[in-house]
Each structure stands twice: as structure tokens, then as C-alpha cells.
Symmetry: C2
Subunit: 243 residues, 2 copies
């Protein structure tokens, strides 16, 4: 029986892949992914067949993976970060209902939240939420309720997809909502192009974040009430009592 590995390749560079992810790609005949991610790994896996589809063609990409596996190939479907965090593993199970003879194995990776956190310092040490600001498949009212609920309960918040051409003011809207419960002085951070060429990071206040323009390759971190800046790093303590 042929097999499909759904593989999180980590935030960018080859050295951020796990050994298990490397092994899966090595024992695959075909490697499938969004063009940008295939380009990131291509040089490290010579002799493999690489298949790509465009950014919004996720269902087609899943079907392609199952059709290639049905031909008897071992296939890796690759995602940046972790395949299970806003990634392809869920859709692979949904499309896989039509291919009951093909086995799926999910291989976890370093997601942008923890990859970016490592660049900024230690922002995610305590309870945190991941929220995507993309309203393509989620009603904005739902996103708004989550921003408010997470802020009220003093979670550290990590935002994925904070901006796009059509959504250039969403981060500003999100900051205004979070400031209902979080102080404008809350320590925040942004990381762009994590573990890739052009990696940038910056620590700032929530008020400053509100007026910062970020792009779609940026991950945004908003601290809890205890988060502090230590030597330019963003650090959340382990709890609410003294160490």
C-alpha cells in the first residue's frame, strides 16, 4: 500500500526540519507543495519528482497527492511550519475519505509561533492563543470574539496572517480590539521571514504595534500582563507568583 506523508518542514531553512521530516522526504518518490515551499527544499532532495500548485489551490493539491499515491508512489505533501497548524493535514483527511486505501502519516514541524518566539526571546512561556486574522474562511465576527475573549483572559496572543493586500488594516483593527482589555504598554513583538533570508524582528508596545505595517510573512506576538522586555528580548514569566 502506498503512503502519503504530510510533512511540516519548519519555518524555512533546511536545518529547521526534524530528522523524521527529512527521512519522509528521502523515502518519497514525489514531493508536492506550494511553489514557495518546494523551492525551499528542492536542492536537498535531488532525484525526486517535484509537483507544485498555486497558493489557493489547496483542494487540487490534496487530490493530486492522492492520485499520485494511487499510482503506487510514496508521496510527501509539504507545508511550511507544522502541517497541522493552519496547514494541509486537515484537508488531507477530508479529501482522503475518497481514497480509503491510502494511508496518511502526519509529521509535525516547528510552527511559526514557536520559531518566531525563539527569535524574539521567550514570549510564549505561559498560556497562549493562536489566532489567524484571515477572514477568507472564518467570519470576522468570530475572529473579533476570539481577540476579545483571549485579551480579557490575559492570554499571550500570536497572530498568523496579520495582513494582506486586501486586509491591510486588519492588524490595526485587531490591536484596537485587544486594547479593550490589554494595556497600550503591553510588550509585543513581530518577526518576519522566520529562519529565512531577510529575517527581521522588533519588540515594541501594543500602541506602537497598532501603527506598524506588516506583511503576510510576519508573525505577531502580543504579551500578557506580565510580559516584559529584557535586554531587547520579549520575555513572559512562567506564572503570576515570584520565581
Amino acid at each position: 500500500m502506498s503512503k502519503i506523508y504530510v510533512v511540516g518542514i519548519g519555518p524555512g531553512s533546511y536545518e529547521q526540519m526534524t530528522g523524521r521530516a527529512v527521512q519522509a522526504l528521502q523515502c518519497s518518490d514525489a514531493i508536492i507543495g506550494y511553489t514557495v515551499y518546494v523551492d525551499l527544499v528542492k536542492e536537498h532532495f535531488p532525484g525526486k519528482e517535484f509537483l507544485t500548485t498555486g497558493m489557493k489551490k489547496e483542494v487540487e493539491r490534496c487530490t493530486l497527492a492522492f492520485e499520485e499515491a494511487r499510482k503506487g508512489k510514496n508521496v510527501s505533501m509539504i507545508c511550511s511550519g507544522d502541517a497541522g497548524v493552519y496547514g494541509m493535514s486537515g484537508l488531507m483527511y477530508e479529501v482522503g475519505v475518497n481514497y480509503p486505501d491510502i494511508e496518511l502519516e502526519i509529521i509535525p514541524g516547528v510552527t511559526a509561533a514557536t520559531g518566531g518566539a525563539a527569535v524574539l526571546g521567550a514570549p510564549l512561556i505561559h498560556d497562549f492563543c493562536l489566532i489567524s486574522l484571515s477572514d477568507l474562511l472564518t467570519p470576522w465576527e468570530k475572529i473579533e470574539a476570539r481577540l476579545l475573549g483571549a485579551s480579557k483572559a490575559d492570554f499571550v496572543i500570536c497572530l498568523y496572517n496579520p495582513s494582506s493586500k486586501k486586509r491591510h488594516d486588519y492588524l490595526k483593527k485587531a490591536c484596537d480590539l485587544m486594547m479593550t482589555y490589554k494595556s497600550p504598554e503591553t510588550v509585543c513583538g513581530i518577526v518576519g521571514n522566520i529562519a529565512r533570508e531577510g529575517e527581521i524582528s522588533r519588540v515594541m508596545t501594543l500602541q506602537e504595534l497598532r501603527d506598524t505595517q506588516v506583511d503576510m510573512f510576519t508573525t505577531v506576538f502580543i504579551g500578557n500582563s506580565q510580559t516584559k522586555s529584557i535586554g531587547g528580548k520579549m520575555v513572559t514569566p512562567r506564572g503570576y507568583r515570584n520565581v
Copy 2:
């Protein structure tokens, strides 16, 4: 100048480490960690000096790392999962204030949330929260507010430290709180000993989870209103509109 790497070794097995984590340990003179984690990596890094401290000796462990680095050694401080998720990287920055001449580099890893998610299927595809049920350093009222806020806003919830000898009924209390807003039929999952010997996983309802006894090596997942069970796997769709 000597350097300390704070390294997430992933959920257990050597093959879940990233290439960057392996490199850091290889170029370290001393590797420091909680006994259990040192035992997990020891055989793969022959010739290194291994130093351990007990479970609750975190501040001592950090000080030990800085003191060893001050002697001119390169040091790796290892944590299971990701060092920045309920891990040691925050405390290393706090203790590091006393050692301004020593540089810290944080190396991310696969945390139990995404490692466990891969075993269960794809529970974390959409917005999610991590909440630790340990009230050692966090008042229970704060944990309670987070369980309620996250449930009300329909987040997928991943629970760390769901149980211990002293806190044997905390998961039951947490489930009762989450059922204020989440249906008892909500799809849930548990994973124990992720990527280690004796790995187990089970998908069940929130009502069943309430009456399940778990141990401290278990990570618990509670779905959102859209999470479903597909062929025994726990799968959260990408959004609230049809694919």
C-alpha cells in the same frame, strides 16, 4: 565569548529533533537538563559532559548553565518539546540578567501540542489555545477564566499538565467549565507519551473526557464546534464555510 543554546529537543525520540538542535548539542561541551530528557538524548551525543538537576530545580539548573558557560564552555540547556512553551527559555533570560557577558540562542522544537496533534490527526488546524492546568505558579481563578473565555470564543483547546498526584480531579473540573459553552458531544482526544515508548492515543467526546483519568505525560485536545471524527482521527476544518 561562550554561548548557551536553549534547545527544544521535541516530544521524545531523537528523530523528532531538528537539524539545528542536533548541531547545537554537537558543538556543546556540556549538556544540561532534567534527568529524564538527558536520558533521552545521551546515547546520541557520546563524549559530552552531561549535568542534571531534579524536576523542580529550574532556577538552580539555569544558574548551573551560566556558571558552566562562564568557565568557557559551550553549553546546551535542553527541554522536551519547545524550550519556549512552558519551558526554560524565559527563566534563562531572567537569570541571565546576572550574566550579561554570556549570549543565549534559543533553538525551537516540536512542542507537545503539534506533536500530539499529528498523532490524533489534525485537531489544531484552526485557532487554538494552550492552557496549563498546573496551579503551582498561576492562581486557579486565572486558569478558570481562560478555560471559560477560550470555550466561549469556540477555540480548539490544548491542555498541558492536565493531571498530577495532587491535582487528580483538575481535568474533570476543567471539562465541567468548558461544558458551560462547549457541547458534551465535542470531539476530543488524548495522547500519552508522544513519540516515546508506550505512545497511546484515543478520540472521545468531551463528556467521556470528563470521566477519563489521565497522567502528567498526557496532552489533551478539545475540539471547536466544527471538529469531527473522520475514520477515528480528530479533524478540525479550516474554517466555518464550506471548502
